[in-house]
Symmetry: C2
Subunit: 150 residues, 2 copies
DNA sequence: GCTGAAAGGAGGTGTGG
DNA sequence: CCACACCTCCTTTCAGC
């Protein structure tokens, strides 16, 4: 896709906060008709700019109140794709990225409680050639912009 | 809200992957009629289990290709609320949490490029009583889920 | 309580301008 | 990009389990 103009950005901003808003509602905010908004959204879906629409769930309400960032140190060099295959089937791993610095990867892990977190860490360590890992447990989330503010 | 039954969980799971799916589509997958699904979704919205619906955007397509996790070390003890006030107005900060361990907080920061990241870090450091910070720059995202699937 | 059925109204979507 | 038409879907009300 070429590039997004200002209107596309505003549509994305609206969708980020209210993904189930009607095209007409979005159109009213960006001064466009509903069909025009739909065409732009369809184009962004086709081109991959919009990867999908999701629901923000209160983790505590679901009983997933334990959260940690895990820095992973590997033996030698491991290809990102290899790490992906190792961890993508572990549901507790919300995100994973290879990083600069002393560690090789950082993972964001959610669990129901400490015991659950411990078992998730064990799964993470055993599914790849890990030397060691360092867990940073979250005490309280103070900002989380993935969530719309409503 | 009391508790979620199995059907509620399945509806949440569907919504997490396709937040713009019609109630009829969701109903077909969980063996319920559209009105029944809507009532359950409305109830979860009221009770706060569902916090909202959002759009997953490809950050690289938007030109926000630089990403870092920042560990922050504060002078003395700072209340979480104080940190929130300090950082909530910095748009580059996607998430922030107080944590256990040697650092006081960990931030997830997005930027357009390294120069932009640098200026964002400067804003972060100057807006609170920070002793020092340690940045872990992301090389490549290998997993990016919005919610655990368990 | 919960569900499903039906009706009226609102929104999505394709064509022509 | 808008206007219009068609059609699907949402949403309410109703009654039944």
């Amino acid at each position: 896709m070429d590039r997004l103009d200002d209107t596309d950005e505003r549509i994305l901003s609206e969708l980020a906060e209210h993904a189930r808003a009607t095209f007409a509602e979005i159109g009213a905010r960006v001064n466009l008709s509903a069909p025009a908004v739909k065409r732009r959204v369809d184009r962004m879906l086709d081109s991959g700019v919009i990867r999908g629409f999701t629901t923000v769930v209160d983790r505590n309400a679901l009983g997933w109140g334990t959260e940690a960032y895990v820095q992973v140190y590997c033996h030698g060099t491991i290809a990102p794709d290899e790490l992906r295959r190792a961890w993508v089937d572990i549901p507790e791993v919300v995100s994973a990225a290879t990083v600069t610095g002393t560690s090789d990867a950082i993972l964001h892990v959610l669990a129901r409680d400490m015991r659950h977190l411990e078992s998730a860490l064990e799964k993470i360590r055993s599914s790849a050639d890990i030397e060691r890992s360092e867990s940073i447990v979250v005490l309280s989330n103070i900002i989380d912009r993935v969530r719309p503010e409503g």
